[in-house]
Symmetry: D2
Subunit: 393 residues, 4 copies
């Protein structure tokens, strides 16, 4: 096991936290509120900063424009708040799904007025990005249709193409536009950007700064996600990841909680790309998880720990030995080499890496000892009062 290489990779493996991951969320059947959950953007940033202080690898926070910025507030203020919490603003996430006008879609809406409104919100998001020093515009669209016949699939495809071109034209040169795909939910019959093929075609049509965003939970059952990642890398179209795990749908579970070997294999494709080409393009590693039951901060700490473990394992694969074994079509040996890295316990190594950087060897334990959550609960209860649960119907 080559510590140096793993340490060097861990030094570069930065994971972005989502501001919304610190707030109460739920399923359509209700929310179970947590007293310590963040409500305001400064609380979210404080929580993210706390996680980053413990983990040392989460310097940026993804923000949702609608939830984290106020019309009457300069975006730079949020950036300042972030800095004061020890983090920076990362990807900018427009919200073109929540407003009532988006009932029939945003960039895929047949109404040119609503499409324009959506595009303007996204142009505003680019402006916010510039203001706060972010170089990532992260686009997820809830657009789609619920029933056969509801709308024209191809017309929507073209409206999307148009809108994305407009956005791309407004990007500053160093900003990347990520196009996310998702097979279903909240659209139930056809989602406008349903799979990586659609995301890739739309991104290519938009322009060279548009890349594909892979959310690990946004695939049909049995899809080989690492194969998609490998293809996107080879096509120079991989922009980043949303980390989470799931058993059935887009369950937003903590990464590696259901199938850690799959996440490991995804990281292996990235390291294999490095082995093949000598480098890895910029990839945004971002958490996208909404926790109904786990304490928010603990869930983030667990996520970061597991992502680091799985990434470190992927770095342990002896790529030369694997290539030689593959060359011989020695299938059993090839598999053993790959899986052997997965079976290796990297927790001691990771603890060592943390200690070498002045971080607690066990961030979760450190968090529990810190009393942070109890203080947050007390302060936030006092500030916001007890929250209601929300009803299904």
């Amino acid at each position: 096991m080559n510590h140096d290489i793993v340490f060097s990779r861990l030094n570069e493996f930065m994971i972005e936290l989502p501001s919304w991951g610190f707030a109460d969320t739920g399923t359509r059947f209700g929310k179970f509120n947590q007293d310590a959950a963040a409500v305001t953007v400064d609380e979210k940033l404080a929580d993210a900063g706390h996680v980053n202080k413990l983990c040392g690898c989460c310097p940026t926070v993804a923000v949702h424009v609608l939830w984290d910025f106020k019309p009457d507030q300069a975006a730079a203020e949020v950036a300042k708040l972030a800095r004061s919490s020890g983090v920076r603003i990362g990807s900018i996430n427009p919200n073109v799904f929540q407003d009532q006008q988006y009932k029939w879609g945003s960039a895929g809406n047949r109404s040119s007025a609503i499409r324009k409104h959506a595009v303007e919100h996204m142009l505003d998001s680019i402006a916010i990005g510039k203001e706060v020093g972010s170089n990532l515009l992260s686009l997820w669209f809830a657009d789609g249709i619920n029933y056969p016949g509801q709308s024209d699939i191809v017309a929507r495809k073209r409206w999307f193409t148009e809108s994305l071109k407009v956005l791309h034209a407004a990007l500053p040169p160093d900003m990347t536009m990520l196009v996310e795909y998702k097979p279903f939910e909240p659209a139930f019959y056809a989602t406008d950007i349903a799979d990586w093929g659609m995301a890739l075609l739309l991104a290519r049509a938009a322009g060279p700064q548009a890349k594909v965003l892979v959310d690990t939970g946004h695939h049909y059952q049995a899809v080989n996600i690492e194969q998609i990642v490998a293809w996107l890398l080879d096509e120079n179209m991989l922009g980043g990841f949303h980390f989470n795990d799931r058993k059935y749908a887009d369950d937003d579970l903590t990464i590696g909680s259901i199938d850690p070997y799959q996440i490991f294999r995804i990281f292996c494709e990235i390291e294999n790309h490095r082995f093949r080409t000598g480098s890895v393009p910029p990839i945004a590693y971002m958490v996208d998880q909404s926790h109904n039951l786990k304490p928010k901060i603990e869930a983030m700490l667990q996520t970061v720990d597991m992502a680091q473990q799985l990434y470190a394992k992927a770095c342990l694969v002896d790529r030369k030995a694997l290539a030689a074994s593959q060359e011989n079509e020695d299938l059993v040996q090839s598999e053993n080499i790959l899986r052997g890295a997965f079976l290796t316990d990297v927790r001691p190594l990771l603890a060592e890496w943390r200690s070498s950087g002045g971080l607690p060897a066990d961030p979760l334990a450190a968090h529990r000892q810190s009393g942070y959550e109890a203080r947050a609960a007390k302060d936030r209860l006092a500030k916001h009062g007890k929250k209601a649960g929300g009803a299904y119907a």
Copy 2:
């Protein structure tokens, strides 16, 4: 085509409407509100009565205890409201998932106090059923766990068994207790009653008045639902259905909107049971759909129409010819007999049945002409004001 038999079957094919199907609901990403959506129980009952007046086959309304009854209101008053709208109260649906105390489960919660609280709510629901003249207690549990290790699956199974036994002991002799299963959502790793096998074992353990409730949207992909229905009928364990359709998960789409042939095949198993045994046990046919986009009443009218069409088609199968063809292992002919009934256009027949009963031949058109929705929208907007959409996080 034997009109008489189809007419006679349609005369008996009664479909229960859900009170919650007339209210605004949504996905976890938000709700798109409708001005005409019902808010109060009397509005829900009025809408259901309107549908029943147009369709003539929806005499009962499923109620959700938490949403439709108030602690300070006699249940009989709701029954009276129903009668005044031309319907009766049908299945009683307790709600043991929304309250904050149910974060870790209801009947499967490790806390005996919370289990007791849940059971008491369900006992209250039985009492309400008695008071309003309902003979159906319909149980759906959101209970389950989100992560491996979270809880002990078998302990939960036993707590469920205990709770259901207590409920069964409190049932009046003519009341049936329906046990619903669902593979996932809102629990993401393991749902306590995940499939028909678990529902059947729990129902058998509870007692003879407990039966299984099949929600057509609550199955893994590719599961043969009609086979499950056939087995449940043969085991005398089929209690009823929740009607809806889906493409991926529990999408709550209108029945037959995605795969009408599957719903037809389910009805075929029921008619085959009649052919085999001479009768069909009491089966509760209930709609369970939450529409985000479709106007609520229109969606119900469409649902009822499609359910009737598919049921009528199933009645057209020439069972004797099919049996003879099967006897010869004449596979192509057997399939053609079954599918031939599906391919038959029964819309004229259904229109005739409606006219013969003094109903509009096209209930949806009649509804649109009635101006009901515009009036409801006006009245309800005036009464409740514009509703907010609800936020994801």
Copy 3:
């Protein structure tokens, strides 16, 4: 219902039959042989000719190079045999999966010698196509890997790109090269051309005469196939279809036997493309089904009948009314317009179309009356003897 338009569409809707669909095939657990199953290419062509005589819409036969051509036989002889049976040779299907050398792949094999061998076989197939007057090269690759680590996904992608470019360069100007995708089987972990996105990228890399082939059974559960078809049409990348149906995997069931509404929706996208653009590009409609239980010819007759019915239904959609309804976001009405066409019984119309062309109104009945199968069984038993079943292990 506009008979003229439907008739005109049916006149153009030609369905290619597969030579291998008339031979005994099975599952990995064994084959159930049929005495009347074709063994030789002339028997297969005779069966296809028989089907075409009854249906009038199956003028071409797909051939498998390995099974239908002999090294020492001029391809033109097979073409002559076809003509004498009343059909022509359609798509040419190379076989680069059965030979022992393809254990680790064909065009994706790391061995340049084996890749070259596979390419040469496919070049030979192009030559055969020229000789027999076919303008379709239909490529399906079994290539892929069974285990993580077995091989380098990207290396294989590149080998495929190279091979397909060589093939494309050898195409005569009027020949189309179809690239098929399949998510799994016989490769179990990663198939080299797993989805439409991969097929599209490879086809684009190969050249302008390469298009994507959509096999209706080659998708993950819940994938929206009609959406893929719509995108491929809009990208001018749809080359053709392999018709079949399935419940779980690539089950090779007769089309429309499990989910007829889905096939209808696929045809709707094609007719919608015509409505949108005024024309439809050349699309090869080909049957790809292997029947274990159904008599081969009956299964083909059933397939053709069902495909014609579903296509005719799709032609009945009132596209202008649908567009107007969509324009109003009248979701219930839009769905009803689309589904209304599906619910229409087109069997009388189809019978009329057949009669107008001098064809039997009920081809299956005509076949059963013809005594063809009994004669074939007698002759072929005499010629080939009783066949053995083949063992699993």
Copy 4:
């Protein structure tokens, strides 16, 4: 880490090898033959004996009656052959799927003559079991239907019930009858014993010596297998396992090759049952894998190694700590306790266990050094000649 407990569990964890796992098998698209693959029963037993010598935990071999016994050979001779190879005969597997008469089913066939024939073969299998000293009758049925309408699902259910009762009546008191379920393949529309619920009901109807057999590859996507295992244990209906893994269907991949964490969780439920009740019922752990590409013996060695690793990991879970953490609804901690055991590298421990028993620490390396495969290939090639691949059509 408590070595003693893990060692003690490993001492009891015996894994049965399948005789057919050493022979050439394939997919429906062909077989890739291996020179060293076993052809005769003595070769299969020799290979199994070789594996057992290296692993020390595979004392028994599952046999397929049709393939491993000859009508004119006393079963005891096969038992003798086994002993001479250092193994015993384990589960007896009748074959009621391969013969041409089983085209429409075996125990579910409408023909009473064929049902009787199938039952007689299974009664013969019981007799063989008695003769060879086996106490396991392992029943898998390919029975089912390919198309809606093909047959009556309930009639088939009843025929199955009858047949299994007859078999149960013939069991010697110490023999267990295992009933396996499988959702699809080779039946494509409805398999007669499709899920654990059906297997359980049939086994209960047959009698107390009938239990359910869980094949880890026989589930729909996303099914929670460990939950089924937990329920079966609590219902005292778990009889055993067929080990394998899969990505999509019943792919027969080596266990733990796709999702090792899932297999670990299954083992955890078994150890949890022990923790809960103090004991574990007899469970037959059997490999059921057919390898197309991996060398047979290597695949078995890999399988046994991975099964032992995953089982050892499951034994490392600190059940008391987990129970305490669950008691506190400390979700993050509970998950960490469970997953922490999985993340622990048990390879050194397993090597130690092997060495303590006089076994090679690395059985695969020992096998590769032994020259066994090259010798087998040489001998078997000489004896049987080069095998043909078999054709698809």
